[in-house]
């Protein structure tokens, strides 16, 4: 929470997925608060880097086996490097990293729909260190019926590899 806005709201705003009324409230605040404007810039730059990495991951998936192994490892290393250190890491960062990881395999729209449904069911009170594993379990439940057991297991593993810290 910063100046009355939740992490979820920051993320939605930076992705352009925020409702009109909340957006104008945040925009009004951004016009007068340099601190939040700087935070938003940082989030946007970081999202851009993550989505570039996601794109590289997609390309790596298409490669022949030998190159794929190497490219996958490098891509995952870079995503891990982009992931903030434990004290700066929050739900917004974790969700964005999760999307960058899983989007290339499932498709960005599929993963957004599954994350939204899992947030609603697994963490109705908002994401924090305690509700993250419930969210991860729900994410698996959301993905499995449509995409299969291997896909569901990947979603669970990816979410559990991105531990969330309370701040």
């Amino acid at each position: 929470m910063q100046h009355g806005f939740t992490e979820q709201e920051w993320m939605e705003f930076s992705e352009g997925a925020m409702g009109a009324s909340s957006r104008s409230r945040l925009e009004a605040h951004l016009a007068v608060c340099a601190e939040c404007a700087a935070k938003l810039d940082a989030i946007r730059v970081w999202h851009q880097r993550l989505s570039t990495e996601g794109e590289r991951l997609r390309v790596a998936m298409e490669l022949p086996e030998i190159d794929r192994e190497r490219m996958l490892a490098q891509s995952l290393e870079r995503i891990a490097a982009e992931y903030p250190s434990a004290e700066r890491r929050g739900p917004a960062e974790a969700l964005a990293a999760l999307r960058a990881l899983l989007g290339p395999v499932f498709g960005a729209g599929m993963i957004r729909a599954a994350v939204d449904a899992a947030l609603e069911r697994g963490a109705p009170g908002g994401i924090n260190a305690a509700s993250w594993s419930a969210f991860a379990a729900e994410l698996r439940e959301m993905i499995q019926p449509a995409c299969g057991l291997a896909a569901g297991f990947l979603a669970l593993r990816a979410a559990m590899s991105l531990a969330v810290a309370d701040r």
């Binding site: 997609r58 998936m61 298409e62 490669l63 022949p64 086996e65 794929r68 996958l72 490892a73 995952l76 990881l101 989007g103 290339p104 395999v105 499932f106 498709g107 960005a108 729209g109 599929m110 993963i111 729909a113 599954a114 449904a117 959301m142 499995q144 019926p145 449509a146 995409c147 299969g148 057991l149 291997a150 896909a151 569901g152 297991f153 990947l154 593993r157 990816a158 590899s161």
Partner: protein, 289 residues
């Protein structure tokens, strides 16, 4: 094998089978009926390509079924796709057997043509049910909601059904001497064939939309193949009916693409299997043992 070479191989299989079907069609004009033709240009020959396509489909659909959680619609759908591929193999096998017997019809023999037609109908009907089950597996996530343009497309397909229903009757007339060999029930069942194909085209619209909502990746690529499958099967039925001069130039490739379209289901199933492969690889990378 990497993804790209595998996909390229499947597309090549599709193209070869389609060209094969087309050249047989063209050869019919050069070689008078009854005159011996080179082996590869005999009517049943291209069924080899289709048998291979369905064998590959059966193999991957069975693997994907194993990856779907028990008691889910997706698992049923992949089982149905596997059975459908098996039915298609039976169909083309029977067709080959029937064609090799053509010269010497023996009274009281098994009616192979009607049986192969029945296998084809069953295969298409199972595919249609499977497509519906797949779409419904994605619906709880809000994927695959149709827009106005989709409904217009569906209305256009539905509008052509009455015209298409007149086709099997004409086909039976064209067969002439063969017609008595068909069981009356099967002839009546074949009336449903254009309806089933129109159904596949409609299911294709639903799944393409679902894939578009899912975003770029193996899911969307697979669903696009299903959409293309519905489109080319529909085109093979509709194009010959268009009253435009010179349509026969399009008719031959359209029919070829339609006949060989089993390969598109093979591609769709392979793309879905890739999702499982990629998930496993990424999981292994995330948590190296």
């Amino acid at each position: 094998m990497g993804k790209r070479p595998a996909v390229a191989m499947l597309w090549t299989g599709y193209a070869l089978t389609a060209v094969w079907a087309m050249s047989i069609r063209v050869a019919l004009g050069f070689y008078p009926l009854g005159e011996p033709r080179p082996f590869l240009l005999r009517p049943f020959a291209f069924s080899v390509g289709l048998i291979v396509a369905n064998a590959v489909t059966l193999f991957f659909a069975w693997k994907v079924r194993g990856d779907a959680p028990p008691r889910t619609r997706a698992r049923t759908a992949w089982l149905l796709i596997a059975i459908s591929a098996a039915a298609e193999i039976v169909r083309y096998g029977l067709l080959r057997a029937a064609a090799s017997r053509l010269g010497a019809p023996s009274p009281g023999s098994v009616p192979l043509f009607p049986l192969s037609a029945a296998a084809g109908l069953i295969a298409t009907a199972l595919l249609l049910i499977a497509f519906g089950a797949l779409w419904s597996a994605f619906r709880p996530l809000g994927l695959g909601r149709l827009g106005v343009a989709h409904w217009i497309g569906i209305a256009a397909i539905v509008a052509t059904i009455p015209v298409l229903l007149k086709l099997p009757a004409q086909g039976a007339q064209a067969l002439g001497a063969l017609a008595p060999a068909r069981l009356p029930l099967i002839v009546r069942l074949q009336q449903f064939d254009p309806v089933l194909i129109a159904g596949c085209a409609i299911a294709g619209i639903f799944l393409v939309r679902t894939g578009k909502d899912a975003g770029r990746g193996p899911l969307a690529a697979g669903f696009r193949c299903v959409g293309l499958f519905g489109l080319v099967r529909m085109a093979a039925l509709v194009v010959p009916l268009i009253p435009v001069s010179g349509i026969q130039w399009i008719e031959v490739p359209a029919t070829g693409a339609g006949i060989a379209s089993d390969w598109l289901i093979t591609l769709a199933v392979y793309y879905r299997w890739r999702l499982t492969i990629e998930s496993r690889e990424l999981t292994a990378r995330l948590a190296p043992d």
